[in-house]
Amino acid sequence: MKVRLVDIAHARSGDKGDTANVGVIALEPGWYPFLAKTLTLSRVTQHFDGVITGGVERFELPNLYALNFLLHGALDGGGTLSLKTDAQGKVFSTAMLRMVLDVPDAEAAALGLPAAPVP
């Protein structure tokens, strides 16, 4: 089954120099272990391939049901150097939430994950 990250998490992003950070927070505490298992370093690196020029770092915050990702080389130099509309990485949050996940039907049903709408 396809599950959209935007239906199971919320997020906020910000900047530090040329790095954008994206905090991803489970909409239900019970969904956090699934998020932690699914949003691996390689999955997120692949998601932002071609969007950022540097690597990705990943941190777990089970106490907040959240994951924090640092996306390096995300902001065309960052701060005042950047020519981007989103020079401060404010909406990398929802760029992350565009991710669509493949979840075995049984697992999705057990967790009560909402299915992605059929296009």
Partner: protein, 461 residues
């Protein structure tokens, strides 16, 4: 006055956030002191490059160089300070805290409250006059991201400020100040210092200091923890027009509750506070400040009634022996131009405009470090992650250049408007005329040994 342990442990100190950055809602400080009981009003004015803007202003006029908005804010909250004992803590001093303090005293005098305002002025963060001495004595002030020593850009430095911690603010309060003005204090120290002062937290009570820092992190961006810019359930956040800015109700044991005044809009819940906690987060296990290293993986949040979130369990570790330094330096020039292309096939027209423009820049032999094109309405914010599933009704063609040569950037600014008549069709949206050339003031983060920075506190009345 001595208080018994029981009174101390149940006592609550309220720190209200009234400004999350320079340019935030002018009405917020007044609303915070009028909407209910608060003990401290915390106003954060400084972003990374603000100091360099202020430095430029001070070069033009030695009486400037601080956040002017703060003077208006003080006017709007003056009677709360003089008659109700609300204390104000702000990093509005920028590169000229004394001029800022004098301007506040002038406001008090004009309002007949001259004797009622005691301003603590915190200085010592400004390293600009000492840069050569520091470099000569072996402090490379290397860029934390690239490792390059500051000497590489020495002649282009505009400002250099150490981020200072809570101690001088605590000292100013101890000396009886009811308004404290600092230069480059950390945002979080503005909240932690009054708690440390009120509860007498020691310099090595790491868990409590970390709690004060995290309280500061939660409220330092104003309404961003109380319903502003909140993605969670955003449609149902009530009355954003009257959004209540956050207040920390802190206790001596380091636990605190995030609240807002009754009758205000917005919403404080576990989700809104969590979104703010992860904002601008690096390694959550090591949130480094001059006072303490806070561990965000120890934070516990709990709903405590409507619009109340209790925060507890926070742990901290000893501070490092370094201070972060924010250096601002001239880094060339940039300009950004925009045009709007309309249906049909708006994107294709905008893409042709981009090719035409780039060919002309190339023909003229103009060289830039960067030329960046975005198609706003299609892919500007999410790049290739955004699917082009339906035809855009209009597209903003947005192109920027950056480089060391001011003349080249200026020439670029003359190439946008002509596209109206000599480029692809169905184009509009140049009411503002040609783009402006901006000098880039870039940010250079560095570290310096704590021992080289001596802060000073003086109380003016």
């Amino acid at each position: 006055m001595e208080s018994s342990p029981t009174t101390q442990s149940s006592r609550i100190v309220r720190v209200a956030s009234g400004q999350g950055f320079w340019g935030d809602w002018l009405d917020a400080p007044r609303r915070q002191v009028e909407g209910g009981q608060v003990d401290y009003l915390m106003l954060d004015y400084l972003a990374e490059v603000t100091m360099s803007i202020l430095q430029k202003q001070k070069e033009r006029d030695p009486a400037m160089g601080y956040a002017r908005d703060f003077i208006g804010a003080m006017e709007s909250v003056l009677t709360a300070v003089t008659d109700r004992g609300v204390k104000v803590i702000a990093n509005a001093g920028g590169v000229n805290p004394y001029a800022c303090a004098r301007a506040v005293l002038e406001v008090a005098r004009a309002r007949g409250a001259a004797g009622k305002v005691k301003i603590g002025v915190v200085t010592g963060d400004d390293l600009l006059p000492r840069i050569d001495e520091l470099i000569a004595s072996g402090h490379a002030l290397s860029n934390m991201e690239t490792g390059e020593p500051l000497s590489a850009i020495r002649d282009r430095v505009l400002s250099a400020n150490a981020y200072i911690g809570s101690e001088p603010i605590v000292e100013a309060l101890r000396l009886g100040a009811n308004v404290v003005v600092t230069g480059r204090s950390t945002d979080t120290a503005l909240t932690m210092a009054p708690l440390r002062h009120e509860f007498g937290w020691g310099a090595e009570e790491w868990d409590k200091l970390a709690a004060g820092i995290i309280a500061g992190h939660i409220i330092e961006c104003g309404a961003q923890c109380s319903g502003g810019n909140c993605l969670y359930d955003w449609r149902n956040i009530p009355d954003l027009a009257n959004v209540g800015y956050p207040i920390v109700e802190a206790r001596a044991d380091g636990t605190f509750t995030v609240v807002k005044h009754p009758g205000t809009g917005g919403r404080i819940n576990v989700q809104s506070v969590t979104e703010q906690l992860v904002y601008e987060m690096g390694d959550p296990h090591s949130y480094i400040t001059p006072d303490v290293v806070a561990d965000f993986s120890t934070i516990h949040l709990e709903a405590d009634g409507e619009n109340r979130v209790r925060v507890f369990g926070i742990e901290g570790r000893p501070a490092t022996d370094k201070l972060k330094v924010s250096v601002a330096y001239r880094a060339g020039f940039k300009a950004v131009g925009t045009l709007v292309y309309a249906w049909p096939v708006a994107l294709e027209k905008a893409q042709l405009a981009d090719r035409v423009l780039r060919e002309r820049l190339d023909t003229m032999g103009l060289r830039f470090d960067q030329i960046l094109t975005e198609f706003v309405g299609v892919s500007a914010t999410h790049g290739r992650l955004a699917p082009q599933t339906s035809e855009a009704q209009e597209v903003q063609f947005r192109v920027g250049v950056r480089g060391p040569d001011r003349k080249a950037v200026e020439r670029f600014t003359r190439e946008i408007v002509p596209l109206l008549l000599n480029g692809p069709p169905s184009v509009t949206g140049v009411a503002a005329g040609r783009p402006k050339v901006e000098e880039i003031v870039a940010y250079w983060p560095a570290l310096v040994d704590k021992t080289v920075v001596q802060t000073k506190v003086e109380v003016l009345a």
